[in-house]
Every structure is written in structure tokens, then in C-alpha cells.
Symmetry: C2
Subunit: 519 residues, 2 copies
């Protein structure tokens, strides 16, 4: 006989009240900055038609891989390339169950939003190509099915994106970097504890084109291998670009891309050339000095980076905030121009006492082809994303979490017959703006009630027994002060005197407000 | 050849910035009240193992029906009824792809959370049955696949729940009603525009038991038919309880439950008896006068309602806020005790000018069996939920939405060469706390820029051309005032004089702050 074991889906998790408080802090502080730059909130659903998410999936060309996708329970029409319903030989509309997928990021759905609006304009017979400016921010969970789940990684995690669709000016890209910097600092990160790395896909594409690689799929395969640099090191990258390698840990044979030695050398030398951080000015000069500068795409990329450098410098964002990193490529397929990644420089000690880094906490870039992929209209677009959960993890690991929020004042249930009095008292406190709860647990022992108060960080407990009720008073125990004094005051009577006092019910709300303000 | 039509999944929708503002208002105001009563935020994932959501699905006993469910891409162990991994004859762990499902409410996942924690305690060898008190609130989207989608209904919609697990005291149920009332009023609903209807499942169960219906499935079928009363009317309810009926609109044959005439009469008379609203006191007296009062379950239900009435009356919640409605049963399978539903009494005119009601906006009740269903431990629990999107719809239809939020101050891009000046100017304004954006649209015509400003409700536009730059000033156009004056001032020059003014760049931030404060 089968049974049920109550459990979360593997890779998913519950979020406790203090984790939520941290998430709320990140979101509200980033919202402030996003709004300050003129973005407004626009939300899309968790579920989308798989084909509308496009083929730009993280590290995969197939919809099935990496994405939670399934057949919609509903039959719907199938469309031809002109967007007309397909019909069978009897002229009936061809119906099928379309695949739907849980969003794997917030960018692909945004492309759907924009393409859908253009398509609706087209259906209404309006002029094509009205690529209006559209700026929005959005936050929420995204879903990735990673077959091998590294510790500390999750299959549901939160991102917070802002995007500008309809802007081709790279000034918008420079601004994206400034927004990320301001958002992180507004959340509480100190300048110098994070670093924005900027590159341009055009430079890498141009370099590859210059060396004869123009096939888009091959280009992307090269990018994905370079993207693993931090993980696997330069030698392994060279092997994967060439004849392949054997993984040291697993012993698995990893096939190579099969580039010839000359191409591999060109790419490896390029990476090595920029391995050491340098001033933005020097990096630009070095990029200009390369033979690939003959290539138009490469050149365009360098000139765009130069403009971004100018804007950042002009507005006071120096190398402490943002550097140029020509070796940084990002794994996502959809980028077409400037790309950026924010790395945290802070370290923490893991369980074994080893110094560790959290790594990348934000990323973004320009994706001028994402709408075109759904609808054959070219729409320039650029944006970036804060990894909300990654950042929360960073703040937790480095001890930068906000103070634990107090729970509610708790009314102890001492005597069931006094419940009406407890309820009236609680309502009076609430009316005065004090968060107050009555202990409703089935287990009524005082020990249970106090353990609950402790678990929930209740600052004060209100105890009213028969004697107190008769006298019209409450005995108020300052739990927060009690914890603070527990170490310094050893005399039980003194401790009790400091921590507990009798207060007349008619001035209870005012007195409790004072006690909470002092605590 | 197949093509892609960019579109949302049917029944899903995007949420615009003003819709988000309304959602944020509802959530923040309800959060205030939930916290005031001692609840803290705890979130569960969107995806759960289908079997952990249990068989308590809305109006259906099968996981497949009404729920988005699919096979997890990962193979996992199968468990026996004792929670041990099952093994085949070769002693290998039996693996399979478990079904996962998108949550259809926020209550079933909460039962999983609680059951999981008890199960973990059990695995650690701790004492069974430590049913600690746990109170949480949560908000977010839930998913229902309704094959036939009524207009204005969605398959993804938001709920905002609060629950108390581990409390058997019906005082907690009375408090739930008070919380709903306070939350709705904090959101902006006036007293008297909504009505909380309270009943007790025990009364209905007792009534059915008294008349010989004790089969749980049959009981539930009766509830579901009674739940349709408002939709189909008393005669159709009688027919569905008995021999069935033919739907007037569709002509479809709807099978009946097959109860004999005596049972049908008993139920119908009970419903009719309480059709007219009456005072809570009178309803209780009437309930007590029925022959079914002999039945223990029925009696217990009546006594609980009596206690709830006392508490509400004691705390000033009279019949204007909450009534007893013995005919209200709620469709969900998991309720075991007091149940409540909040109906909006407000009306609005639909497109055809007909007077309409939004109907039910909140619901809740006691579900003492939900954890037991997953793990054979009885855990008392009670909670309620605000239908966030339903409430947003109500506020919109009845014109109670907050004022439209201003967009950002917009810096018009008049001359690309002046971009560095625009960026500096924007940064100065932002540093002064003014939301400011630079127009980055690819279409640079002034008409496009002004149309964008209008679409985004920008209050002011900053225009700096070559002349202004040379003079060190900006021309500031008060778009908000411009709209207000457009009707009253017909003289173009006068209008321009009132609406547009030149401001030196070095005092721009201060002047704009003043203008925004006045607007």
C-alpha cells in the first residue's frame, strides 16, 4: 500500500517570517530606486505558453530542458506562420493541447507582453512598427529545473527585474549599471563591497567573426564554455573549446567543441589578456589595439563600452563601482550588446571555516532580438535583474540582516472563564495600535504559552488571573527586558521586580506603549 | 508550417501598474490588521506534490480535475503507508515521477507545512502529538483550471490568508470574523456595505445525520448542491437533491443525488426556514427549537454559534457586521466547524446598465481534519482568506480606487549632444528624492515623447535645448496643471504662460519639489 509523506517538492522551500522580512526589505529598497528612475510595476503570470517563452532557455535550446513544462488541459487552435488558425482538409480548425511552462525568468515573458501588444495593433490594422517605449519593474518567483541541484541552490527563487523596451541608446545601458549600484547601496551594501563588471557581446561576437566563427549556434557554444571560466579554469576552457577533456572529479568524458588550435589560441589569449583587472581607460585602449578592431561588430562594441565609460565617469561612478571585463560573457543566449554582472566581494566563513564568496548577485544586458524572435519586428531592449534570494543569502551570511522584528504582545490564557476579559483587553490594545494576540493554543499550560511567546519573539506577556481581574489590573511581564537582564541579574527576586509589574487595566494601553518604546 | 502567436495563456492576465497599486493597497492594509492580531508572514511554494495537496480539491475528488498538475521531471522514491521507501523484489528502492501540482489555495499547503514539521519530529524520535500553535498569513497567486471560464474570472488569482493551526477554541473563529471586518474596513470598505455570514458545518452534518445521511461523500454532495442555491434557486436545489433536472439554458440533463422525498423536504424546509435574515438571537432560538437539536453534532454546532454570537456582541460587532445564516454551507470539502463568508452588498452598473453585485469577497472556516488527512494526527485549525482580486474588482467597479499615481518627471531628449547634461540634471533631481526619467525611446520626435509622458502620467516635463543649455536654464512644463487648465483657459498664450516656465539649473530641484507639492 502506498502512503503519503508530507514534504516539499525537492528544490523548493518555505520562507519563514524573518526570511520574508529580509525579502521585503530588499524589494522595498530596490523599488524605491527603480521608481526613482521612472520604472513602474507591471506583472506577468507564472505560467506562459512554452513557445512564447521562445527557445532562449538558460543553457539549453530545448523547451523541455531546465524548464517545468506540461500540456495545458485545454485544447486550442494551432496557428500557421502568419498567425492564422490552421485548418484540416475538412476545413475544421486544427486543435491541440499546447505546452505551457512555468517562467524561468522575467525577461522572456516581458518580450511576450510587448510582442502581444504589437500583434494586437497589427490585428486592429494599425501601423506596424510602433515600437513605443515601455519601462517596467517586476519581482517574483522564477522556476528552473536543474537536474543536479547544488547545495544552497533552489528550483524556485525570486528575481527583481527592471527593463526598458524600445530604447536603442546605450545611455540606457549605462543607466542600468547606475540603477544596480544605487539599488544595492539603498539595500545596505557599502561601496567597494560589490563590483559591476561590464562587457559587450558585440566584442566577443566580432572577435569570433574575425577568426572565422560566424555560425550563431557555434558562437553561443563558445560563450557558454567561456562562461564556465570561474568554475573550471582556463586550461579546461581551452580543452572544451578544442578536443574535449575528462572531468577530474567524476571521471566523465566532456566532449569538446572541436575548434582548431589557432581559434582556441585566439580565444584563450584574448581571455588571458584581460584576466587582470585594469582601469576602464586602459582596457579600452587594449581592445582598440587588437587586430580584431578591423571587424565592424567588434569596433562597434568597443565604442559603446567607451560611451558607457564616459557616462559612468561623468556621473561619478569610478572603477570602485564598475570595471570593464572583456572576459565576462554571461551564459544566456539572448544578449546582443552591453552585458553586466555584479559580483559581491564580501566573504564569509562556511561550516568548515573556509573563506567563501557568494559570487554573482545581479546581471543584465541588452537583448535587441528577443521580441523579433516571437514576431518579426526588431525591438531594441535592455534591462537587469537583482537575484533577490542570492542577495538575501549574502546579507544573511555576512551578518547584515535587519534586527529581528518583535512579535505581538501576548495575552496569556490563564483561566478560560476570563476569555471575555482577555478579548476586551486585546481589542483595547489593538485599537491603540499595539499588535496583540491571545494565546489560542490547545495546550494551555503556562510553559507551553511561554515557549510560544519565546518562539515568536513576543516582547511582553499580559497575565490576568482571578486575583488580577478582581483588582482590575494586569500583571505585565517584559519578556524582552527579561532576556537582556537574564545574564546580568542573578537574584531571582530582583530580576522579577525589574521585569514584571502590575498595571491597572484602564491605563494598560498607554503603559504598554511606553514599555514597547523603551524596549 | 506552424507559427507562434504571442499571447497569454487563456485565463491568465498581466497586471498593469495601477492594478498593482490597488493590489499593494489591499495587501498592505490587510497586513496591518493581520499583524495587529499577531500573525506573521510565512510563504509556501507555488508547486507542491499533488498527493500532499490531498484530495480536498474545490468541487472535485480527483487531483486531475480543476488543478494544474503534471509529472515532476525527477524520479523519486515511492513510500509505503508507514512512510518508508518501498522496495522491489531485488531490494531496490522503487522510483517514479511523482505528480506535482500548482497550489489551488493557500490552505492545503499550510496543512503540508504543519504535517511535515510533525513528521520531521517523528523521524527525530521526538514525542508525537506536539501540536504547537502556529499562526501565519500569506498572500500570492493560486491556480484553478476551470474548464468553462466565466467572463471576468481567471485561472490565476491572488488570495490573502491568515490561519491559526493548533487552536480548538471557537473564540479563534469569532476572532477570524472580527479580523475580516477590520481588514475590509482598513482597506476602505464602509460598515454596512458588506455582511459576514456565519454558519457551522456541524449543524448541517447533524441535520443530515438526524435524517439518516451519514455517508461522508453523500454529505459532501448535499453541501455542494446547497452551495449552488444563490446561482440556481431553491427549486433546482430540490430537483438536484432528488431525481435531477434539465438545465433551462443548455438543455443538459443534470443527474440528481437520488434522495427520497422525505429527506429532500427536510433539507429544503431547513433552507426555507432561514431564508429571511433574522437577528442572531432569533436564529439561535429557531435552531434550538428544531427536532434535530436531539442530535449531538447539531447541538454542538448551535452552542458554538451561540458562543461566537456572544463574543461578537461583547466586542461591539452587531448584526450590521455579521449575521447567522444556517443555509450557507461553502463548497470546499475540508471544513469541519464554524464557516464564514463575506458578501459585498454594494452594487454597480454593468455595461448594459443593469444593477449587479460582486458577491462573495472573503471566506473561511474551521478545518480540523486537514492535517489528519496527510498524517494520522488530529490537529485543530481555523482560518480565512480575502479574495484579493475579487476585492480589487469590487473597489474598481464601485469607484473606490485610489487616485492614479504620478509617473516620474520626464527629461525630454531634445538634442542628443546634450545627453550628458540631461543625465546630470536627472541625477541631481533623483538625489533630491524626485522620481525622474530620461526619455530613451528610439523615436525621438517631441510628439512621441509627449505621448509617452501622457501615457505614463508624468507630472512635469523638463526641456533643455541649445539655447536653454547656453543660458544655464531648463524650460519646465507642468503637464498635470496643463491638463487641469486645458478646459478653463482657451487662450493659448495665457495657457502656455501658466503652464511653462524657465528655471535656472542650479535651483531646479528645489523649484520642481515646490511645483510637485502644489500639483
Amino acid at each position: 500500500m502506498r502512503g503519503i509523506v508530507p514534504q516539499k517538492v525537492k528544490g523548493f522551500r518555505d520562507i519563514t517570517s524573518s526570511q520574508n522580512a529580509l525579502r521585503e526589505l530588499i524589494i522595498s529598497k530596490a523599488t524605491e530606486v527603480y521608481r526613482r528612475f521612472g520604472f513602474s510595476r507591471f506583472d506577468t503570470p507564472v505560467l506562459e505558453y512554452a513557445e512564447c517563452l521562445g527557445k532562449y532557455l538558460p543553457d539549453a535550446d530545448s523547451v523541455a530542458q531546465g524548464v517545468y513544462s506540461f500540456k495545458n488541459p485545454e485544447q486550442e487552435p494551432v496557428f500557421d506562420t502568419e498567425g492564422r488558425e490552421m485548418r484540416d482538409k475538412d476545413n475544421n480548425v486544427v486543435m491541440e493541447n499546447h505546452y505551457v511552462a512555468m517562467r524561468y525568468d522575467l525577461t522572456a515573458p516581458l518580450a511576450r507582453v510587448y510582442a502581444e501588444s504589437l500583434w494586437q495593433q497589427h490585428l486592429r490594422g494599425e501601423i506596424q512598427g510602433k515600437t513605443n517605449l515601455f519601462r517596467r519593474y517586476q519581482y517574483g518567483p522564477v522556476y528552473r529545473f536543474e537536474a543536479k541541484l547544488d547545495p544552497g541552490r533552489f528550483r524556485e527563487f525570486w528575481q527583481m527585474d527592471f527593463d526598458t523596451v524600445g530604447a536603442e541608446d546605450v545611455s540606457a545601458d549605462a543607466e542600468n549599471c547606475i540603477i544596480l549600484s544605487q539599488a544595492l547601496e539603498n539595500i545596505g551594501l557599502k561601496r567597494g563591497t560589490y563590483l559591476i563588471k561590464i562587457n559587450n557581446r558585440k566584442i566577443v561576437n566580432g572577435l569570433l567573426a574575425y577568426s572565422g566563427i560566424t555560425d550563431k549556434d557555434e558562437e553561443m557554444s563558445v560563450m557558454r564554455i567561456i562562461d564556465k571560466l570561474d568554475k573550471i579554469g582556463i586550461d579546461a576552457v581551452a580543452q572544451e573549446l578544442g578536443g574535449g577533456r575528462v572531468d577530474e572529479v567524476s571521471g566523465a568524458q566532456i566532449p569538446g567543441l572541436g575548434l582548431d588550435a589557432q581559434h582556441v589560441d585566439l580565444i584563450i589569449n584574448y581571455i588571458k589578456d584581460f584576466e587582470q583587472h585594469d582601469t576602464r581607460r586602459n582596457v579600452i585602449e587594449k581592445l582598440k589595439s587588437k587586430p580584431a578592431y578591423e571587424n565592424d561588430t567588434y569596433k562597434e562594441g568597443v565604442i559603446e563600452l567607451e560611451l558607457i565609460d564616459h557616462i559612468l565617469a561623468d556621473l561619478g561612478y569610478d572603477e570602485q563601482v564598475a570595471i570593464l571585463d572583456p572576459g565576462m560573457v554571461r551564459g544566456l543566449g539572448y544578449y546582443t550588446g552591453p552585458i553586466y554582472e555584479v559580483e559581491s566581494l564580501q566573504t564569509y566563513k562556511d561550516a568548515k571555516g573556509r573563506e567563501r564568496r557568494v559570487g554573482s548577485i545581479c546581471g543584465g544586458g541588452r537583448y535587441d532580438g528577443l521580441v523579433e524572435n516571437l514576431l518579426h519586428v526588431k525591438v531594441p531592449a535592455t534591462g537587469a535583474s537583482i537575484g533577490v534570494d542570492r542577495l538575501a543569502e549574502l546579507l544573511t551570511l555576512t551578518g547584515q540582516v535587519p534586527e529581528q522584528i518583535d512579535g505581538a504582545v501576548i495575552v496569556i490564557v490563564f483561566d478560560d472563564d476570563l476569555m471575555p476579559l482577555y478579548q476586551k483587553t486585546a481589542m483595547q490594545l489593538r485599537a491603540a495600535g499595539i499588535n496583540t494576540e491571545i494565546y489560542y493554543g490547545a495546550k494551555r499550560g503556562l510553559k507551553h504559552q511561554m515557549a510560544y511567546a519565546d518562539r515568536n519573539n513576543c516582547p511582553l506577556a499580559i497575565i490576568i488571573g482571578g486575583d488580577e481581574a478582581a483588582k482590575g489590573v494586569a500583571s505585565v511581564k517584559n519578556l524582552k527586558l527579561g532576556k537582556q537582564l537574564a545574564d546580568t541579574i542573578t537574584d531571582k527576586n530582583e530580576w522579577k521586580q525589574r521585569v514584571q509589574k502590575e498595571i491597572p487595566l484602564d491605563i494598560l494601553a498607554d503603559e504598554i506603549k511606553k514599555m514597547l518604546a523603551e524596549a
